[in-house]
Symmetry: C2
Subunit: 354 residues, 2 copies
């Protein structure tokens, strides 16, 4: 069979159309805005890890371009930008949007709340994801766990806290719900930009501060000034969030949707593990190089007062919002049974190996 | 332009060829053999979850068919079948192959070893994955974490263990390294098929047994007979394994390789969380319905003797194999720094919230 040039040309064009039609629905380029600087491990690793998995698993069809805060200039405006579709998705912390909607606080971490394993079990098997989607739906978004820090340390203090009296007038940087608790106990609570924290502590503008844990604290240098390092109580399992514009996500092909969901889930788990490694490595360095650092636990009367203040604050929020109460009650009920297992499982194992 | 029927036919055929050539490299059907029965949660959930993710993320191009043990009849022959290429991949526990190669034991869990978070940090950030690939390469396989049980309980006992004397002659079902430890301490150690465990305990053929944890133990009914439930020491983070034939994996397209690796990783993490939920739920039920169940910890002299026996066994294996020593040393070094962080982080948090 001999084909004319014209017919061969048509054949090629027709084939190209068929091939591209076949692939077209999976070709997507998205933009993601983060609340972080370009290099802020392990938070930025979670995003990069997720985007890399999506690109590789889609054979390059689904590309997610990441804008750090220096590009979009709006660390706490992620939700608005994603809602408006300026970005298809974002990476942030739910509790930054407490002012916009207090229920969102509950999807990050609560003082005296669940630890990371308990909380993931609540999210994926205890109804947490369903509650999160419900709470985010009214903001035009889907929300997914975006990386967990594990237990955050209680902060660096220049002086030991021996009693509730030592908190009166103490100038401390601590944000969020925990900040409100310390304020109730008489602290002068402030928030200070990360870049100014070391200088503020050094100059005595603040007497104490809370950051994250050894892995992220070590590069800040707080251990050089404030040698009392308190164990955590206020953010036992801080979960970051991937937020995704609902309309954009609904338009994805089933394949791309599956790829994105799996990549986000894996990146979140991975960050918990990466931060564990970072903290183990950093703590090893800190305690070797600064043997004067003392690990402290707040005295029982102080812990009890913090617990009572937390309960008061939760009651206030629950009285204002039935939705807050529903989510908080779900977490408390789940924690009760999960903690009983933690106590005889993971906790007993470490306790009996001291 | 008017095309003859013949030319149209050629056009359609050519297009079909182009389209199928484009997709051909990604179309794969694999078979996976498990060491488990068809329904054995959460182990079988990990496999089903992985296969589902692979199929969805590949848009149906990459399909993994699962054969349970009732099909292939070889619970402990997974490695051989995968090595020979009878199955492209398998789901099993590395320590079942201790007889074939003792180093494999180390990739499951070790008595007094790392917990799940520490161990995942070792696998992914502490050099563990590299060591695992090296150890599995000589068997013609790649190995990947396949799901973690978290801390396993120390087992169900009819009578309280008050001293080392109570272990002399005790008839206990406990396999693996821990079994050798109990044997060294004077127990009559046996292994019994899962289906006969309850009857053996009921009839006094055995006085005690170790299984997994509340989530998997509850359906076995041991709590109805043996009311002393001991906290764990022997399998603090039992990791199952996906094993993959090297030649088969090397032939996958980069896209399918990325999809498979991510799906296996996610399924492994997910199983840890699912088992946490199962154990929390089961323990809640057991302790409510059987309030006579007592949570016990082995007395310190017993724990010390178990630790000493474990160290002896590790020394014996290390003397026989440089590879065993290399992997074990890597785990011990990593655990030392990871545990220091666990102690001030996750552990202190639960301790201070009792």
């Amino acid at each position: 069979m001999k084909l004319s040039k014209k017919i061969l040309g048509s054949l090629a064009l027709a084939c190209a159309l068929v091939v591209s039609a076949n692939a077209a629905s999976d070709k997507v380029t998205w933009k993601l805005a983060t609340s972080w600087g370009a290099e802020f491990p392990p938070f930025t690793n979670s995003v990069a890890n997720m985007a890399k998995m999506v690109e590789e698993m889609s054979g390059g069809d689904f590309v997610i371009k990441v804008d750090a805060v220096n590009k979009h200039k709006s660390a706490f405006g992620i939700m608005d930008m994603v809602k408006l579709g300026q970005y298809e998705m974002g990476h942030t912390a739910s509790y930054y949007y407490k002012g916009k909607d207090p229920v969102l606080l509950l999807f990050t971490s609560m003082p005296f709340g669940m630890n990371a394993l308990e909380q993931y079990a609540w999210f994926y098997f205890g109804g947490g994801m369903e509650l999160a989607q419900k709470s985010y739906e009214k903001h035009g978004m889907y929300s997914f766990p975006g990386g967990n820090t594990g237990v955050q340390m209680g902060g660096w203090f220049r002086k030991e806290i021996k009693s509730l009296d030592d908190l009166k007038g103490l100038k401390m940087r601590i944000p969020g719900f925990a900040g409100e608790i310390f304020a109730k106990l008489g602290c002068a609570v402030t928030n200070i930009a990360p870049g100014e924290l070391f200088t503020s502590l050094e100059r005595g503008t603040i007497d104490a501060l809370e950051w994250v844990g050894p892995g992220m604290d070590v590069s800040m240098g707080f251990h050089k000034i404030a040698p009392y390092y308190y164990t955590g109580w206020h953010e036992p399992a801080t979960e970051l969030q991937f937020v995704v514009n609902r309309a954009k996500m609904d338009k994805l092909s089933p394949k791309n949707k599956a790829i994105l969901e799996t990549a986000m889930k894996t990146a979140a788990y991975d960050m918990l593990i990466q931060n564990y490694d970072m903290s183990a490595t950093a703590w090893d360095k800190i305690k070797t190089e600064y043997p004067n650092i003392k690990i402290m636990t707040f005295p029982k009367p102080v812990m009890d007062a913090m617990k009572a203040a937390n309960e008061d604050l939760v009651k206030e929020e629950s009285a204002k919002s039935a939705e807050f109460k529903t989510v908080h009650d779900s977490q408390q009920a789940y924690m009760k049974k999960a903690r009983a297992w933690t106590n005889i499982g993971e906790y007993a194992y470490i306790r009996d190996n001291q």
